[in-house]
Symmetry: C2
Subunit: 230 residues, 2 copies
């Protein structure tokens, strides 16, 4: 795929290497019409389970990208690598620290043209990602818009990612943040469980990411792809 | 001035609004042949002393830029605004926090085309800037190179700034960091006290910044401008 193709994506399935999915379900996900598969998760992600999932998704023709959560699980062979920069973390490790360690470790071998930095704002205080990254989630609309604008303008981030993992977010806030962005792509994830929530989220953000529901209710998950034709 | 002009600068004088400089000395600094005046400091910088120093420098035709250290001292009328992002700070405030607050406060009024983000690495543990920003200064060459590369590639920073404020840095390290950069400009500051140190620093970095010596030994400071013709 061409690098910039991701800017046209409206719908992604995010698959967690640490969760089981059988061949039939994976087949239906990959043939669903979604724009791409993103592989990544907050915990239990290893080189082994990532490479295994990648090889299964690679039987299909759609793009497959990795969202990197730790250095040990980086697998070659993805189309792109998305790198979270957690703008509202209280720990520099999640903003620049682990990234610096990765650059120190991999150096010249990093294919920068395949890297897509994501300016994350994690907004559900009860999710694992928020706990892991010690994120400051008590933010109002103007706080989040300021993080988004900062990510876009100061750090030239091509993607701003509003993450409500485990709960459906404040769509008014998401819509407002979108108004503040000029060229960054706005990703939204969290609590998309059916075509209704998918439609709402897709009306506010540029790209929606559908995750957990894949493992909980496959039929409902598959229906979210309808946002692509709306 | 055109925005991109700063990429040709070899030598800057950094003047601290909190320090006194008489008209004769300022005259000699501004007519020295330096590429530009940068106004900024770690402490005691206010709107009042900044606007006063700006108006005095504005009698001369050379570019005058501000390096912002706090939100209250931002004065309109500079040619460019340099914004430090302290990559090796242990406090998110110095990486994204204060910046987010500034975007929240100023919003649409921020002239992004006049903003130049600087990826700082503060490397002298005994300087005020290191204490203020709680910087992790115990870094080797590969650590600093990784921060620099991260700033350039992941955050698209146009300037990487190695700051040894108060002491002359490790020129081998500075030279090595320069080798890792493709398009970012490498700024060096700290301990430049005469033409000899200036020449050494200018051989390693793209742009050198001469600060304290202006207030301690004007003649020696003026001689550092010779690096421009070497």
């Amino acid at each position: 795929m061409r690098r910039e193709e991701y800017r046209n994506w409206r719908h992604l399935f995010k698959l967690d290497p640490d969760k089981l999915i059988n061949d039939e379900h994976l087949d239906r996900i990959c043939l669903s019409g979604t724009d791409a598969i993103m592989i990544g998760g907050s915990s239990g992600v290893t080189f082994e389970n990532t490479v295994e999932l990648l090889s299964r998704v690679r039987r299909y023709s759609l793009p497959c990208v990795m969202e990197i959560s730790n250095m040990d699980s980086i697998v070659p062979g993805f189309d792109l690598y998305f790198i979270p920069v957690v703008l509202n973390s209280r720990q520099p490790d999640w903003i620049v620290g682990m990234h610096q360690q990765a650059v120190k470790t991999f150096g010249h071998r990093i294919p920068w043209e395949m890297i897509v930095p994501e300016g994350y704002c994690i907004l559900n205080p009860d999710c694992e990602a928020a706990r892991l990254t010690d994120s400051q989630t008590d933010l109002d609309q103007s706080d989040v818009s300021a993080y988004a604008k900062l990510g876009e303008q100061m750090f030239q981030m091509p993607v701003i990612y509003l993450e409500y993992s485990g709960s459906f977010g404040d769509m008014e806030l998401v819509h407002e943040v979108a108004q503040h962005l000029n060229h960054a792509r706005l990703f939204y994830g969290g609590g998309i469980v059916d075509v209704h929530t998918a439609t709402e989220a897709a009306a506010a953000a540029d790209t929606i990411i559908v995750g957990n529901i894949v493992y909980e209710n496959l039929e409902a998950a598959l229906q979210t792809v309808q946002v692509k034709t709306e």
